[in-house]
Symmetry: C2
Subunit: 307 residues, 2 copies
Protein backbone atom coordinates (compact mmCIF):
# COMPACT_ATOMS: atom_id res chain seq x y z
CA UNK A 1 0.00 0.00 0.00
CA UNK A 2 1.22 3.48 -0.75
CA UNK A 3 2.87 5.54 1.92
CA UNK A 4 2.95 9.32 1.79
CA UNK A 5 5.40 11.49 3.69
CA UNK A 6 5.32 15.25 4.08
CA UNK A 7 8.22 16.92 5.79
CA UNK A 8 11.53 18.64 5.38
CA UNK A 9 14.49 18.11 3.12
CA UNK A 10 17.41 19.83 4.77
CA UNK A 11 21.09 20.50 4.54
CA UNK A 12 22.33 19.49 7.99
CA UNK A 13 25.52 20.42 9.76
CA UNK A 14 26.04 18.05 12.65
CA UNK A 15 28.73 17.94 15.26
CA UNK A 16 29.15 14.93 17.53
CA UNK A 17 32.05 13.94 19.80
CA UNK A 18 33.18 11.79 16.86
CA UNK A 19 33.32 14.43 14.16
CA UNK A 20 31.67 17.19 12.17
CA UNK A 21 29.85 17.01 8.84
CA UNK A 22 28.58 20.08 7.00
CA UNK A 23 25.71 20.50 4.55
CA UNK A 24 24.87 16.81 4.35
CA UNK A 25 21.48 15.69 3.13
CA UNK A 26 19.01 15.56 6.00
CA UNK A 27 15.49 16.50 7.01
CA UNK A 28 12.61 14.48 8.37
CA UNK A 29 11.14 13.51 4.99
CA UNK A 30 14.57 12.44 3.73
CA UNK A 31 15.29 10.07 6.61
CA UNK A 32 11.77 8.73 6.46
CA UNK A 33 11.76 8.09 2.72
CA UNK A 34 15.26 6.63 2.66
CA UNK A 35 14.28 4.10 5.25
CA UNK A 36 10.85 3.58 3.65
CA UNK A 37 12.40 2.42 0.42
CA UNK A 38 12.94 -0.97 2.10
CA UNK A 39 9.25 -1.45 2.68
CA UNK A 40 6.81 0.04 0.23
CA UNK A 41 6.52 2.63 -2.57
CA UNK A 42 6.80 6.02 -0.91
CA UNK A 43 5.55 9.37 -2.11
CA UNK A 44 7.30 12.48 -0.88
CA UNK A 45 6.07 16.05 -0.50
CA UNK A 46 8.69 18.65 0.37
CA UNK A 47 10.40 21.80 -0.84
CA UNK A 48 14.04 22.49 -1.69
CA UNK A 49 15.92 25.60 -2.72
CA UNK A 50 17.97 26.14 -5.86
CA UNK A 51 21.16 25.26 -3.96
CA UNK A 52 20.33 21.61 -3.27
CA UNK A 53 22.39 19.41 -5.59
CA UNK A 54 20.07 17.57 -7.98
CA UNK A 55 22.09 14.44 -7.27
CA UNK A 56 20.65 14.42 -3.74
CA UNK A 57 17.13 14.14 -5.13
CA UNK A 58 18.24 11.60 -7.72
CA UNK A 59 19.65 9.43 -4.93
CA UNK A 60 16.17 9.31 -3.38
CA UNK A 61 14.61 8.54 -6.74
CA UNK A 62 17.11 5.76 -7.32
CA UNK A 63 15.83 4.16 -4.13
CA UNK A 64 12.31 4.10 -5.54
CA UNK A 65 11.02 7.19 -3.80
CA UNK A 66 8.41 9.12 -5.81
CA UNK A 67 9.72 12.71 -5.71
CA UNK A 68 7.09 14.23 -7.98
CA UNK A 69 5.75 16.03 -4.91
CA UNK A 70 9.09 17.73 -4.22
CA UNK A 71 9.10 21.30 -5.49
CA UNK A 72 12.18 23.42 -6.11
CA UNK A 73 11.86 27.10 -5.19
CA UNK A 74 14.12 30.11 -5.64
CA UNK A 75 16.26 30.59 -2.55
CA UNK A 76 18.21 28.48 -0.12
CA UNK A 77 17.27 25.04 1.20
CA UNK A 78 16.19 24.63 4.82
CA UNK A 79 19.28 24.34 7.01
CA UNK A 80 19.72 22.86 10.46
CA UNK A 81 22.86 22.91 12.55
CA UNK A 82 23.09 20.90 15.72
CA UNK A 83 25.50 19.24 18.07
CA UNK A 84 25.43 16.27 20.39
CA UNK A 85 27.41 15.77 23.57
CA UNK A 86 28.69 12.40 24.79
CA UNK A 87 25.25 11.51 26.09
CA UNK A 88 24.04 11.49 22.48
CA UNK A 89 20.45 11.52 23.59
CA UNK A 90 19.32 15.00 22.68
CA UNK A 91 20.55 17.44 20.06
CA UNK A 92 21.34 21.02 20.87
CA UNK A 93 20.13 23.14 17.98
CA UNK A 94 22.78 25.72 17.09
CA UNK A 95 21.06 27.24 14.09
CA UNK A 96 17.85 26.86 12.09
CA UNK A 97 17.33 28.61 8.77
CA UNK A 98 13.86 28.02 7.39
CA UNK A 99 14.69 29.57 3.99
CA UNK A 100 12.34 28.19 1.29
CA UNK A 101 10.55 26.26 4.02
CA UNK A 102 9.16 29.54 5.33
CA UNK A 103 6.58 29.87 2.57
CA UNK A 104 6.03 26.13 2.11
CA UNK A 105 2.47 25.09 1.43
CA UNK A 106 2.17 21.40 0.70
CA UNK A 107 0.35 20.62 -2.55
CA UNK A 108 -0.28 16.97 -3.23
CA UNK A 109 -0.02 15.75 -6.83
CA UNK A 110 -3.36 14.18 -7.79
CA UNK A 111 -1.94 10.64 -7.69
CA UNK A 112 -0.87 11.13 -4.05
CA UNK A 113 -4.41 11.77 -2.84
CA UNK A 114 -5.24 8.09 -2.70
CA UNK A 115 -2.48 7.44 -0.16
CA UNK A 116 -3.58 4.94 2.49
CA UNK A 117 -0.81 5.61 5.00
CA UNK A 118 0.26 9.17 5.69
CA UNK A 119 3.16 10.44 7.79
CA UNK A 120 3.08 14.12 8.68
CA UNK A 121 6.70 14.94 9.48
CA UNK A 122 7.69 17.62 11.92
CA UNK A 123 6.33 20.76 10.20
CA UNK A 124 3.86 23.50 11.24
CA UNK A 125 0.64 21.83 12.47
CA UNK A 126 -1.36 24.04 10.11
CA UNK A 127 0.54 22.56 7.15
CA UNK A 128 0.00 19.08 8.57
CA UNK A 129 -3.71 19.81 8.62
CA UNK A 130 -3.61 21.02 5.00
CA UNK A 131 -2.21 17.65 3.99
CA UNK A 132 -5.03 15.82 5.75
CA UNK A 133 -7.46 18.01 3.75
CA UNK A 134 -5.99 16.71 0.52
CA UNK A 135 -5.94 12.93 1.06
CA UNK A 136 -9.17 11.16 0.20
CA UNK A 137 -9.56 8.10 2.41
CA UNK A 138 -6.47 7.39 4.46
CA UNK A 139 -6.31 4.22 6.55
CA UNK A 140 -3.92 5.79 9.06
CA UNK A 141 -2.60 9.32 9.49
CA UNK A 142 0.38 9.68 11.83
CA UNK A 143 2.09 12.90 12.87
CA UNK A 144 5.32 13.98 14.46
CA UNK A 145 5.81 17.31 16.21
CA UNK A 146 8.34 19.16 18.38
CA UNK A 147 8.69 21.53 21.33
CA UNK A 148 8.76 24.56 19.00
CA UNK A 149 5.20 23.95 17.70
CA UNK A 150 3.91 22.87 21.11
CA UNK A 151 5.01 26.24 22.46
CA UNK A 152 4.26 28.55 19.61
CA UNK A 153 1.19 26.98 17.93
CA UNK A 154 -0.57 25.02 20.62
CA UNK A 155 -4.20 25.77 19.53
CA UNK A 156 -3.39 24.80 15.94
CA UNK A 157 -1.59 21.68 17.10
CA UNK A 158 -4.57 20.65 19.20
CA UNK A 159 -6.82 21.01 16.14
CA UNK A 160 -4.46 18.87 14.09
CA UNK A 161 -4.34 16.23 16.84
CA UNK A 162 -8.07 15.71 16.43
CA UNK A 163 -7.44 14.75 12.81
CA UNK A 164 -4.60 12.27 13.26
CA UNK A 165 -4.79 8.63 14.32
CA UNK A 166 -1.35 8.39 15.82
CA UNK A 167 1.17 10.80 17.32
CA UNK A 168 4.91 10.23 17.60
CA UNK A 169 6.55 12.15 20.47
CA UNK A 170 9.54 11.86 22.76
CA UNK A 171 9.30 11.94 26.57
CA UNK A 172 9.77 15.70 26.82
CA UNK A 173 7.22 16.45 24.11
CA UNK A 174 4.66 14.13 25.72
CA UNK A 175 5.13 15.97 29.01
CA UNK A 176 4.94 19.37 27.36
CA UNK A 177 1.74 18.63 25.45
CA UNK A 178 -0.01 17.03 28.41
CA UNK A 179 1.34 18.92 31.40
CA UNK A 180 1.87 15.54 33.10
CA UNK A 181 5.28 14.32 34.22
CA UNK A 182 4.39 10.64 34.57
CA UNK A 183 4.62 9.18 31.07
CA UNK A 184 1.54 6.94 31.41
CA UNK A 185 -0.57 9.89 32.49
CA UNK A 186 0.95 12.03 29.75
CA UNK A 187 0.08 9.45 27.10
CA UNK A 188 -3.47 9.04 28.41
CA UNK A 189 -3.93 12.81 28.28
CA UNK A 190 -2.80 12.89 24.66
CA UNK A 191 -5.12 10.00 23.77
CA UNK A 192 -7.95 12.13 25.17
CA UNK A 193 -6.98 14.90 22.71
CA UNK A 194 -7.79 12.86 19.62
CA UNK A 195 -5.25 10.28 18.45
CA UNK A 196 -6.14 6.63 19.07
CA UNK A 197 -2.48 5.83 19.56
CA UNK A 198 0.61 7.54 20.93
CA UNK A 199 4.16 6.32 20.40
CA UNK A 200 6.64 7.70 22.95
CA UNK A 201 10.20 7.45 21.66
CA UNK A 202 12.81 7.40 24.44
CA UNK A 203 16.10 7.16 22.60
CA UNK A 204 18.43 4.57 24.09
CA UNK A 205 15.64 3.45 26.44
CA UNK A 206 13.33 2.27 23.67
CA UNK A 207 9.78 3.20 22.81
CA UNK A 208 6.27 2.75 24.17
CA UNK A 209 3.04 2.38 22.20
CA UNK A 210 -0.04 3.50 24.11
CA UNK A 211 -3.57 2.60 23.12
CA UNK A 212 -6.62 3.18 25.28
CA UNK A 213 -6.50 -0.27 26.83
CA UNK A 214 -3.00 -1.52 26.08
CA UNK A 215 0.68 -0.66 26.23
CA UNK A 216 3.50 -2.23 24.24
CA UNK A 217 7.15 -1.64 25.14
CA UNK A 218 10.10 -2.14 22.81
CA UNK A 219 13.59 -1.59 24.17
CA UNK A 220 16.25 0.02 22.01
CA UNK A 221 18.95 -2.31 20.77
CA UNK A 222 21.89 -1.83 23.17
CA UNK A 223 24.66 -0.48 20.93
CA UNK A 224 28.30 -0.08 21.90
CA UNK A 225 28.83 2.55 19.20
CA UNK A 226 26.40 5.39 18.60
CA UNK A 227 27.74 8.04 16.25
CA UNK A 228 24.92 10.30 15.16
CA UNK A 229 21.35 10.20 16.48
CA UNK A 230 20.11 12.63 13.79
CA UNK A 231 17.13 11.19 11.96
CA UNK A 232 16.67 8.23 14.32
CA UNK A 233 13.16 9.39 15.18
CA UNK A 234 12.20 9.68 11.51
CA UNK A 235 13.73 6.30 10.68
CA UNK A 236 11.75 4.89 13.60
CA UNK A 237 8.55 6.44 12.25
CA UNK A 238 9.31 4.98 8.89
CA UNK A 239 10.07 1.45 10.05
CA UNK A 240 6.78 1.70 11.91
CA UNK A 241 4.69 3.13 9.06
CA UNK A 242 6.43 1.00 6.43
CA UNK A 243 5.48 -2.16 8.30
CA UNK A 244 1.83 -1.15 8.51
CA UNK A 245 1.70 0.04 4.89
CA UNK A 246 3.35 -3.15 3.59
CA UNK A 247 0.77 -5.32 5.30
CA UNK A 248 -2.13 -2.86 4.94
CA UNK A 249 -3.06 -3.88 8.48
CA UNK A 250 -3.52 -1.71 11.57
CA UNK A 251 -4.21 -4.22 14.32
CA UNK A 252 -2.63 -5.08 17.64
CA UNK A 253 -0.18 -7.65 16.34
CA UNK A 254 0.93 -5.59 13.34
CA UNK A 255 1.38 -2.50 15.53
CA UNK A 256 3.75 -4.49 17.75
CA UNK A 257 5.81 -5.58 14.78
CA UNK A 258 5.74 -1.98 13.57
CA UNK A 259 7.21 -0.84 16.90
CA UNK A 260 10.01 -3.37 16.61
CA UNK A 261 10.72 -2.45 13.00
CA UNK A 262 10.84 1.20 14.02
CA UNK A 263 13.47 0.30 16.60
CA UNK A 264 15.39 -1.72 14.00
CA UNK A 265 15.59 1.21 11.58
CA UNK A 266 16.46 3.69 14.33
CA UNK A 267 19.28 1.43 15.51
CA UNK A 268 20.76 1.32 12.00
CA UNK A 269 20.50 5.07 11.56
CA UNK A 270 22.54 6.01 14.63
CA UNK A 271 25.43 3.68 13.79
CA UNK A 272 26.96 6.07 11.27
CA UNK A 273 26.76 9.70 10.24
CA UNK A 274 23.75 11.05 8.42
CA UNK A 275 22.16 8.56 5.99
CA UNK A 276 25.36 6.52 5.55
CA UNK A 277 24.21 3.42 7.37
CA UNK A 278 20.75 3.42 5.76
CA UNK A 279 22.46 3.45 2.39
CA UNK A 280 24.46 0.34 3.27
CA UNK A 281 21.94 -2.00 4.83
CA UNK A 282 20.05 -4.68 2.94
CA UNK A 283 16.66 -6.26 3.51
CA UNK A 284 18.52 -9.27 4.89
CA UNK A 285 20.26 -7.05 7.46
CA UNK A 286 16.86 -5.69 8.45
CA UNK A 287 15.38 -9.17 8.88
CA UNK A 288 18.39 -10.31 10.89
CA UNK A 289 18.13 -7.36 13.21
CA UNK A 290 14.40 -7.89 13.65
CA UNK A 291 15.24 -11.40 14.90
CA UNK A 292 17.81 -9.92 17.27
CA UNK A 293 14.99 -7.99 18.91
CA UNK A 294 13.18 -11.23 19.52
CA UNK A 295 16.23 -12.69 21.25
CA UNK A 296 16.60 -9.43 23.16
CA UNK A 297 13.09 -9.43 24.59
CA UNK A 298 11.35 -12.80 24.56
CA UNK A 299 10.97 -15.19 27.46
CA UNK A 300 8.99 -18.30 28.28
CA UNK A 301 6.00 -18.65 30.56
CA UNK A 302 6.51 -19.05 34.23
CA UNK A 303 6.63 -22.66 35.27
CA UNK A 304 7.33 -23.51 38.80
CA UNK A 305 6.18 -20.64 41.01
CA UNK A 306 4.26 -22.59 43.62
CA UNK A 307 1.09 -21.74 45.47
CA UNK B 1 16.74 -24.31 46.89
CA UNK B 2 17.79 -22.13 49.78
CA UNK B 3 18.44 -18.44 49.25
CA UNK B 4 20.70 -16.46 51.55
CA UNK B 5 20.62 -12.68 51.87
CA UNK B 6 23.11 -10.50 53.71
CA UNK B 7 22.36 -6.82 54.01
CA UNK B 8 20.82 -4.10 56.08
CA UNK B 9 17.75 -3.86 58.24
CA UNK B 10 16.99 -0.17 58.64
CA UNK B 11 14.58 2.32 60.04
CA UNK B 12 13.83 4.54 57.06
CA UNK B 13 12.39 8.01 56.93
CA UNK B 14 11.23 8.73 53.44
CA UNK B 15 9.72 11.84 51.94
CA UNK B 16 8.08 11.78 48.53
CA UNK B 17 5.81 14.35 46.87
CA UNK B 18 2.95 12.21 48.19
CA UNK B 19 3.85 12.15 51.85
CA UNK B 20 6.33 11.47 54.63
CA UNK B 21 6.82 8.33 56.72
CA UNK B 22 9.26 8.13 59.63
CA UNK B 23 11.11 5.17 61.12
CA UNK B 24 9.43 2.58 58.95
CA UNK B 25 11.01 -0.84 58.48
CA UNK B 26 13.44 -0.77 55.57
CA UNK B 27 16.90 -1.87 54.50
CA UNK B 28 18.14 -3.94 51.59
CA UNK B 29 17.85 -7.31 53.35
CA UNK B 30 14.33 -6.49 54.53
CA UNK B 31 13.00 -5.67 51.07
CA UNK B 32 14.78 -8.63 49.60
CA UNK B 33 13.53 -11.14 52.17
CA UNK B 34 9.97 -9.80 52.19
CA UNK B 35 9.75 -10.25 48.48
CA UNK B 36 11.64 -13.58 48.64
CA UNK B 37 9.00 -15.12 50.85
CA UNK B 38 6.89 -15.64 47.70
CA UNK B 39 9.52 -17.82 46.13
CA UNK B 40 11.70 -19.94 48.34
CA UNK B 41 12.87 -20.36 51.96
CA UNK B 42 15.13 -17.41 52.66
CA UNK B 43 17.87 -17.07 55.25
CA UNK B 44 18.76 -13.61 56.47
CA UNK B 45 21.98 -12.25 57.94
CA UNK B 46 21.81 -8.73 59.37
CA UNK B 47 22.19 -6.69 62.53
CA UNK B 48 19.67 -4.55 64.42
CA UNK B 49 19.94 -2.32 67.48
CA UNK B 50 18.01 -2.59 70.71
CA UNK B 51 15.51 0.02 69.47
CA UNK B 52 14.03 -2.05 66.63
CA UNK B 53 10.58 -3.31 67.67
CA UNK B 54 10.67 -7.10 67.94
CA UNK B 55 7.36 -7.13 66.03
CA UNK B 56 9.28 -5.99 62.91
CA UNK B 57 11.42 -9.12 63.05
CA UNK B 58 8.41 -11.29 63.87
CA UNK B 59 6.66 -9.96 60.76
CA UNK B 60 9.55 -11.28 58.67
CA UNK B 61 9.47 -14.61 60.52
CA UNK B 62 5.74 -14.88 59.93
CA UNK B 63 6.45 -14.68 56.20
CA UNK B 64 8.72 -17.70 56.47
CA UNK B 65 12.02 -15.83 56.57
CA UNK B 66 14.69 -17.58 58.65
CA UNK B 67 15.95 -14.79 60.94
CA UNK B 68 18.36 -16.91 62.99
CA UNK B 69 21.17 -15.00 61.30
CA UNK B 70 19.89 -11.63 62.53
CA UNK B 71 21.77 -10.43 65.61
CA UNK B 72 20.61 -7.76 67.99
CA UNK B 73 23.35 -5.46 69.34
CA UNK B 74 23.40 -2.71 71.94
CA UNK B 75 22.80 0.64 70.30
CA UNK B 76 20.60 2.15 67.61
CA UNK B 77 19.49 0.46 64.40
CA UNK B 78 20.89 1.66 61.08
CA UNK B 79 18.89 4.69 59.92
CA UNK B 80 18.43 6.17 56.46
CA UNK B 81 16.59 9.33 55.58
CA UNK B 82 15.90 10.22 51.98
CA UNK B 83 13.61 12.17 49.74
CA UNK B 84 12.37 11.87 46.20
CA UNK B 85 11.30 14.65 43.86
CA UNK B 86 8.54 14.33 41.28
CA UNK B 87 10.87 12.50 38.95
CA UNK B 88 10.95 9.65 41.49
CA UNK B 89 13.93 8.13 39.77
CA UNK B 90 16.72 8.76 42.24
CA UNK B 91 16.68 9.31 45.98
CA UNK B 92 18.48 12.19 47.61
CA UNK B 93 20.03 10.90 50.82
CA UNK B 94 19.42 13.40 53.63
CA UNK B 95 20.96 11.43 56.46
CA UNK B 96 22.68 8.10 57.07
CA UNK B 97 23.40 6.80 60.58
CA UNK B 98 25.32 3.54 60.50
CA UNK B 99 24.87 2.93 64.25
CA UNK B 100 25.15 -0.84 65.01
CA UNK B 101 25.95 -1.41 61.37
CA UNK B 102 29.32 0.27 61.88
CA UNK B 103 30.83 -2.76 63.63
CA UNK B 104 28.83 -5.37 61.73
CA UNK B 105 30.70 -8.51 60.82
CA UNK B 106 28.48 -11.09 59.18
CA UNK B 107 28.62 -14.52 60.87
CA UNK B 108 26.68 -17.25 59.16
CA UNK B 109 24.91 -19.84 61.32
CA UNK B 110 26.21 -23.28 60.38
CA UNK B 111 22.99 -24.24 58.60
CA UNK B 112 23.32 -21.21 56.29
CA UNK B 113 26.66 -22.38 54.89
CA UNK B 114 25.04 -24.77 52.46
CA UNK B 115 23.16 -21.93 50.73
CA UNK B 116 23.04 -22.44 46.97
CA UNK B 117 21.98 -18.91 46.03
CA UNK B 118 23.52 -15.94 47.79
CA UNK B 119 22.61 -12.27 47.54
CA UNK B 120 25.16 -9.85 48.95
CA UNK B 121 23.14 -6.72 49.63
CA UNK B 122 24.61 -3.26 49.49
CA UNK B 123 27.19 -3.41 52.33
CA UNK B 124 30.97 -2.86 52.51
CA UNK B 125 32.62 -5.03 49.85
CA UNK B 126 34.96 -6.44 52.50
CA UNK B 127 31.94 -7.77 54.40
CA UNK B 128 30.51 -9.15 51.17
CA UNK B 129 33.76 -11.02 50.69
CA UNK B 130 33.60 -12.40 54.25
CA UNK B 131 30.23 -13.92 53.44
CA UNK B 132 31.61 -15.62 50.35
CA UNK B 133 34.34 -17.09 52.62
CA UNK B 134 31.68 -18.76 54.72
CA UNK B 135 29.43 -20.42 52.14
CA UNK B 136 30.57 -23.87 51.04
CA UNK B 137 29.47 -24.48 47.46
CA UNK B 138 27.18 -21.76 46.15
CA UNK B 139 25.59 -22.17 42.74
CA UNK B 140 25.35 -18.40 42.23
CA UNK B 141 26.65 -15.45 44.23
CA UNK B 142 25.16 -12.07 43.30
CA UNK B 143 26.11 -8.70 44.72
CA UNK B 144 24.72 -5.21 44.86
CA UNK B 145 26.83 -2.11 45.51
CA UNK B 146 26.57 1.68 45.44
CA UNK B 147 28.45 4.87 44.58
CA UNK B 148 29.72 5.18 48.16
CA UNK B 149 31.72 1.91 48.01
CA UNK B 150 32.81 2.49 44.43
CA UNK B 151 34.39 5.77 45.54
CA UNK B 152 35.72 4.90 48.95
CA UNK B 153 36.67 1.22 48.64
CA UNK B 154 37.42 0.62 45.00
CA UNK B 155 40.34 -1.85 45.44
CA UNK B 156 38.30 -3.94 47.89
CA UNK B 157 35.28 -3.84 45.61
CA UNK B 158 37.37 -5.03 42.66
CA UNK B 159 38.59 -7.99 44.76
CA UNK B 160 35.01 -8.85 45.68
CA UNK B 161 33.92 -8.62 42.04
CA UNK B 162 36.32 -11.44 41.20
CA UNK B 163 34.40 -13.64 43.63
CA UNK B 164 30.84 -12.95 42.51
CA UNK B 165 28.97 -14.41 39.54
CA UNK B 166 26.59 -11.54 39.03
CA UNK B 167 26.54 -7.83 39.81
CA UNK B 168 23.44 -5.66 40.14
CA UNK B 169 24.05 -1.97 39.37
CA UNK B 170 22.16 1.04 38.11
CA UNK B 171 23.26 3.14 35.12
CA UNK B 172 25.29 5.56 37.18
CA UNK B 173 27.06 2.84 39.16
CA UNK B 174 27.90 0.93 35.97
CA UNK B 175 29.45 4.10 34.54
CA UNK B 176 31.31 4.86 37.75
CA UNK B 177 32.83 1.38 38.09
CA UNK B 178 33.83 1.15 34.43
CA UNK B 179 34.68 4.72 33.48
CA UNK B 180 32.58 4.20 30.33
CA UNK B 181 29.52 6.31 29.54
CA UNK B 182 28.01 3.98 26.95
CA UNK B 183 26.13 1.35 28.89
CA UNK B 184 27.13 -1.56 26.63
CA UNK B 185 30.78 -0.68 26.99
CA UNK B 186 30.33 -0.17 30.72
CA UNK B 187 28.78 -3.62 31.11
CA UNK B 188 31.50 -5.26 29.03
CA UNK B 189 34.16 -3.61 31.17
CA UNK B 190 32.51 -4.95 34.34
CA UNK B 191 32.27 -8.44 32.84
CA UNK B 192 36.03 -8.25 32.32
CA UNK B 193 36.45 -7.58 36.06
CA UNK B 194 35.06 -10.94 37.11
CA UNK B 195 31.30 -11.44 37.13
CA UNK B 196 29.86 -13.60 34.35
CA UNK B 197 26.73 -11.46 34.35
CA UNK B 198 25.77 -7.86 34.98
CA UNK B 199 22.23 -6.62 35.52
CA UNK B 200 21.82 -2.89 34.89
CA UNK B 201 18.68 -1.55 36.57
CA UNK B 202 17.34 1.63 34.98
CA UNK B 203 14.29 2.47 37.06
CA UNK B 204 11.30 3.39 34.93
CA UNK B 205 13.23 2.41 31.79
CA UNK B 206 13.59 -1.23 32.76
CA UNK B 207 16.64 -3.44 33.14
CA UNK B 208 19.32 -5.06 31.00
CA UNK B 209 21.06 -8.39 31.57
CA UNK B 210 24.50 -8.57 30.00
CA UNK B 211 26.37 -11.83 29.45
CA UNK B 212 29.51 -12.15 27.39
CA UNK B 213 27.65 -13.05 24.22
CA UNK B 214 24.10 -11.98 24.89
CA UNK B 215 21.89 -9.15 26.13
CA UNK B 216 18.35 -9.40 27.44
CA UNK B 217 16.17 -6.31 27.93
CA UNK B 218 13.11 -6.10 30.13
CA UNK B 219 11.14 -2.85 30.20
CA UNK B 220 9.63 -1.61 33.43
CA UNK B 221 5.88 -1.89 33.69
CA UNK B 222 4.53 1.56 32.77
CA UNK B 223 2.76 2.72 35.93
CA UNK B 224 0.49 5.74 36.25
CA UNK B 225 1.09 5.92 40.01
CA UNK B 226 4.52 5.60 41.55
CA UNK B 227 4.59 6.48 45.23
CA UNK B 228 7.87 5.33 46.74
CA UNK B 229 10.79 3.84 44.82
CA UNK B 230 12.61 2.81 48.04
CA UNK B 231 13.53 -0.85 47.95
CA UNK B 232 12.60 -1.36 44.30
CA UNK B 233 16.16 -2.41 43.48
CA UNK B 234 16.21 -4.97 46.28
CA UNK B 235 12.79 -6.30 45.34
CA UNK B 236 14.09 -6.60 41.79
CA UNK B 237 17.13 -8.52 42.99
CA UNK B 238 14.88 -10.78 44.97
CA UNK B 239 12.39 -11.54 42.21
CA UNK B 240 15.45 -12.35 40.14
CA UNK B 241 17.26 -14.52 42.70
CA UNK B 242 14.03 -16.10 43.95
CA UNK B 243 13.21 -17.30 40.45
CA UNK B 244 16.63 -18.89 40.01
CA UNK B 245 16.62 -20.42 43.49
CA UNK B 246 13.11 -21.86 43.07
CA UNK B 247 14.09 -23.63 39.89
CA UNK B 248 17.72 -24.32 40.88
CA UNK B 249 18.59 -23.39 37.31
CA UNK B 250 21.00 -20.74 36.04
CA UNK B 251 20.61 -20.93 32.28
CA UNK B 252 19.66 -18.50 29.55
CA UNK B 253 15.93 -19.11 29.67
CA UNK B 254 15.66 -19.06 33.46
CA UNK B 255 17.74 -15.87 33.62
CA UNK B 256 15.24 -14.19 31.28
CA UNK B 257 12.34 -15.21 33.48
CA UNK B 258 14.33 -14.01 36.48
CA UNK B 259 14.71 -10.58 34.86
CA UNK B 260 10.98 -10.37 34.28
CA UNK B 261 10.17 -11.53 37.80
CA UNK B 262 12.57 -8.90 39.13
CA UNK B 263 10.65 -6.28 37.18
CA UNK B 264 7.35 -7.67 38.51
CA UNK B 265 8.44 -7.38 42.15
CA UNK B 266 9.96 -3.92 41.63
CA UNK B 267 6.72 -2.71 40.04
CA UNK B 268 4.71 -3.88 43.07
CA UNK B 269 7.13 -2.28 45.52
CA UNK B 270 6.88 1.25 44.13
CA UNK B 271 3.08 1.30 44.10
CA UNK B 272 2.80 2.08 47.82
CA UNK B 273 4.97 3.31 50.67
CA UNK B 274 7.64 1.14 52.17
CA UNK B 275 6.75 -2.58 52.28
CA UNK B 276 2.98 -1.97 52.20
CA UNK B 277 2.34 -3.30 48.70
CA UNK B 278 4.58 -6.35 49.16
CA UNK B 279 2.52 -7.24 52.23
CA UNK B 280 -0.70 -7.14 50.19
CA UNK B 281 0.11 -9.05 47.04
CA UNK B 282 -0.56 -12.76 46.54
CA UNK B 283 1.14 -15.38 44.41
CA UNK B 284 -1.78 -15.03 42.01
CA UNK B 285 -1.12 -11.28 41.68
CA UNK B 286 2.50 -12.09 40.91
CA UNK B 287 1.56 -14.62 38.25
CA UNK B 288 -0.94 -12.21 36.70
CA UNK B 289 1.63 -9.46 36.53
CA UNK B 290 4.20 -11.80 35.00
CA UNK B 291 1.69 -12.45 32.21
CA UNK B 292 1.23 -8.70 31.79
CA UNK B 293 4.92 -8.46 30.96
CA UNK B 294 4.42 -10.95 28.19
CA UNK B 295 1.62 -8.85 26.70
CA UNK B 296 3.80 -5.78 27.19
CA UNK B 297 6.78 -7.13 25.24
CA UNK B 298 5.99 -10.03 22.92
CA UNK B 299 5.46 -9.87 19.18
CA UNK B 300 5.22 -12.28 16.30
CA UNK B 301 7.78 -13.00 13.63
CA UNK B 302 7.99 -10.80 10.63
CA UNK B 303 5.90 -12.10 7.80
CA UNK B 304 5.64 -10.07 4.72
CA UNK B 305 8.77 -7.95 4.33
CA UNK B 306 9.55 -8.62 0.73
CA UNK B 307 12.84 -9.08 -1.04
Amino acid sequence: MSLLVVGSIALDSVETPFGLKEDVLGGSATYFATSASFFTPTQMVAVVGDDLPQSYLESLKARGVDIDGVTREKGRTFRWKGCYGYQLNEAETLDTQLNVFQSFSPRLPEKYRDARFVFLGNIHPELQSQVVDQVKAPRLVAADTMNYWINSSRPTLLKTLKRVNLLFVNDAEARQISGEHNIVRAARAILAMGPQRVVVKRGEYGALLFERDHVFACPALPLADVFDPTGAGDAFADGFMGTLATSDRVDGEMLRRAMVMGSVMAAFTVEKFSLERLHEVSRTDIRTRFSEFKRLTHFEDLGSLEG
